[in-house]
């Protein structure tokens, strides 16, 4: 497998904003100048079923899917989904499950959990803060850009070593 590609697996259940989280990550990578591929599921799976989204970026990405054992970071939004999703994580990959409770407690509006966890993720990836900010502006357009920037930065702080 190409070692220069960064792979992130996002997972949870329908309605948690999993696809918005992976969308943020994809735009940030695009703004940072990378080739990005993001896979997602629509339709039936969104009816409360497992939702999985993969983001891969680098110079040139082939597979839009992260192979099992190929994720540099795992971002899981739902505890019960974690065992299933952890097969994607590399042996030395970073698992953000430890942040899930912290983030849930820190965020006043439950709808901000996904953006806050993306903030944690941002601290683990080599994409500059300005690209994340631009990604937030793109994805949220006129709806809650400032609130999302705030919870993102809270998460980013939490994620720093």
């Amino acid at each position: 497998m190409n070692s220069k590609i960064t792979s992130v697996t996002f997972g949870g259940i329908g309605g948690q904003g999993v696809l918005t989280a992976s969308e943020l990550c994809s735009w940030a990578a695009l703004y940072a100048g990378y080739h990005v591929k993001k896979s997602e599921v629509h339709g039936m799976a969104q009816r409360g079923g497992s939702v999985e989204s993969h983001v891969r970026f680098g110079k040139r990405v082939f597979s839009p899917l992260v192979p099992t054992g190929g994720a540099d970071v795992l971002v899981c939004f739902y505890q019960e989904e974690h065992p299933r999703l952890s097969v994607f994580l590399k042996k030395d990959g970073i698992d953000l499950i430890g942040y899930l409770d912290k983030v849930t407690q820190a965020v006043a509006n439950p709808r901000g959990v996904n953006t806050c966890l993306v903030g944690v993720l941002s601290a683990k990836l080599s994409i500059k803060e300005e690209h994340w900010m631009k990604a937030i502006e793109t994805v949220f357009k006129n709806k809650g850009v400032e609130e999302n920037k705030k919870v993102f930065l809270d998460g980013r702080k939490m994620g720093q070593p």
Partner: protein, 515 residues
């Protein structure tokens, strides 16, 4: 409209990129019925004022209107999911004979792995069966380019062109360069009976044309840049198409590739040449052995997957086993199953059916989810409209059972009405339950004739379902809100025990409708 960065790059899904490419290729009309994974194509196209986009009643209708527009001079696009193409097969087969005036592209999105479908048919066979060319992009960026090629090819060869996507192309996003729209050419619409009136004498002549066209298209397949040889290590060469290219390339970056972007008709000479240039040739493809079977007819020796891999989608980690010819190791899915939303009105409807201990002939849509525990109250699902027709079949075969047919509002309009007329005409008794949540819910809440709004949310004449049912000749037509549990149960029980054909419209809007 696509969001762009300063390099004119946007993060687009395959469906969005395809819509963007079609728009740039001076598309004028686009018709479809929603269906995962194809739905977003029309949703994006409806955002362009230059494109006449519509949700049609069903795929057959959408196909015919689009073909009509193409034969009268407007570049047209029809989009559907794989099973939607089955509904449009009647006009499709003869569209191959009539050809077009302006470009006509048939977009079909297959769903290997059945993320949201009732089967995993491989629609590449339709290209072979209908003798029409098929293009297969391997990424969203290619979807934008290929649809432009498809329109040009359509006009050059007087043929509809099929463009096949799969879920992993439709719903993958990547950087896509965005361009400007070309101004549509003006083509003169003229009567041309020998070309468009397919009576036997005319059709015979057109069949001659179709066979000649296929020979010309095969010559094009040898030259087109869509079929690309990537020279690498000569020990190992792969023949691939679609997303499979990406998975194999991920695993074997140094091998040689014949990447087929045009998968029908085949580029036989290119395949032979490529086979000669490598020591070991392997075909890797999802679902059916479409390329594999053809290569065998050429007498070219190629390794291919074990038949067990014809089932389900491929993923990057499966590729080494596929290449080694190993059998698939079936793994139990531990994925959480989808379910009806907590506030869904269908819960109440199915609770009443369960209490009745009914045999429920079901249909496609959110209602299908009622088959799962704890409800387990839906007992068939084959295709759209079959909630009505299975009901009739079951009644004929098992008249003593409490049988109820169930389908949604969008599905009833799609293909339930004909079944209802059939039941009336053939003196079938029983109960058809239309679960009217006033939207096409499962695919994300699209409009349909019963909502009174178009794809652009503009008001239009609203189809009144109860009037339709009465006009079809149902003995009783009642409209009840299922959230009024007792009233609903009483009505259902009463109608089931009568010697009449009744329609009960269980009406309560879906909670997810965007207002």
């Amino acid at each position: 409209m696509a969001k762009k960065d300063k390099l004119n790059q946007a993060l687009l899904s395959g469906n969005e990129a395809l819509a963007q490419g079609a728009y740039e290729a001076s598309l004028r009309v686009a018709y479809a019925y929603p269906g995962t994974p194809s739905t977003e194509i029309l949703e994006v196209l409806s955002g362009y004022p230059e494109v006449d986009a519509q949700w049609s009643v069903n795929e057959k209708v959408a196909f015919e209107v689009a073909l009509g527009a193409a034969t009268a001079g407007a570049r047209s696009l029809f989009a559907c999911k794989h099973v939607g193409l089955n509904v449009a097969m009647d006009p499709l087969m003869t569209a191959s004979y009539t050809g077009i005036l302006a470009g006509f592209v048939i977009v079909v999105c297959d769903d290997p792995g059945m993320h949201s479908s009732q089967n995993e048919q491989d629609t590449r066979w339709v290209a072979l069966y209908s003798k029409m060319p098929m293009l297969e992009p391997a990424s969203p960026a290619e979807a934008r380019e290929f649809v432009k090629e498809a329109f040009a090819m359509s006009e050059r060869f007087d043929t509809p062109v099929m463009l096949r996507m799969t879920t992993r192309i439709s719903h993958t996003k990547e950087n896509v360069a965005v361009g400007e729209r070309k101004v549509p050419e003006t083509l003169v619409f003229e009567r041309n009976a020998p070309k468009y009136v397919m009576v036997p004498g005319h059709a015979y002549q057109r069949h001659i044309f179709v066979e000649q066209r296929l020979v010309k298209l095969a010559a094009l397949a040898e030259k087109t840049r869509l079929n690309k040889i990537e020279k690498g290590d000569s020990k190992l060469g792969f023949v691939v198409s679609g997303v499979t290219y990406q998975y194999v390339k991920e695993n074997y970056p140094d091998a040689s590739y014949l990447k087929l972007g045009m998968t029908y008709p085949f580029c036989d000479e290119k395949i032979r040449q490529f086979a000669k240039s490598v020591k070991k040739l392997v075909v890797v493809e999802e679902l059916d052995p479409f390329i594999e079977d053809h290569i065998k007819t050429l007498g070219v020796k190629a390794a291919a997957k074990d038949p067990s891999f014809r089932i389900g989608e491929l993923t990057p980690e499966l590729i080494p086993d596929v290449v080694a010819g190993k059998a698939k190791v079936e793994q139990r899915s531990v994925k959480r199953k989808p379910r009806l939303c907590p506030e869904c009105p269908h819960w109440a409807s199915f609770a009443a059916l369960k209490k009745l201990d009914a045999y429920v002939a079901g249909d496609i849509g959110c209602c299908t989810l009622a088959c799962l525990p704890p409800m387990s109250a839906l007992h068939s699902c084959v295709c759209m409209g079959a909630g009505v027709t299975f009901h009739e079949g079951w009644r004929k075969a098992a008249p003593d059972k409490p049988i109820v047919g169930v389908l949604g509002d969008s599905t009833f309009v799609h293909s339930g009405i004909t079944g209802l007329i059939n039941a009336v005409y053939n003196k079938c008794k029983g109960v058809i339950l239309i679960l009217d949540n006033s939207t096409t819910a499962m695919t994300g809440g699209q409009q349909h004739p019963g909502t009174g709004l178009t794809i652009r949310n503009e008001p239009t004449k609203k189809l009144i379902l109860e009037d339709v049912c009465r006009a079809c000749g149902a003995d009783h037509v009642d409209v009840v809100d299922p959230k009024n549990l007792e009233e609903f149960r009483a009505m259902l029980e009463k109608r089931v025990n009568e010697d009449a054909l009744s329609v009960i419209i269980s009406r309560h809007p879906c909670k997810l409708i965007k207002r």
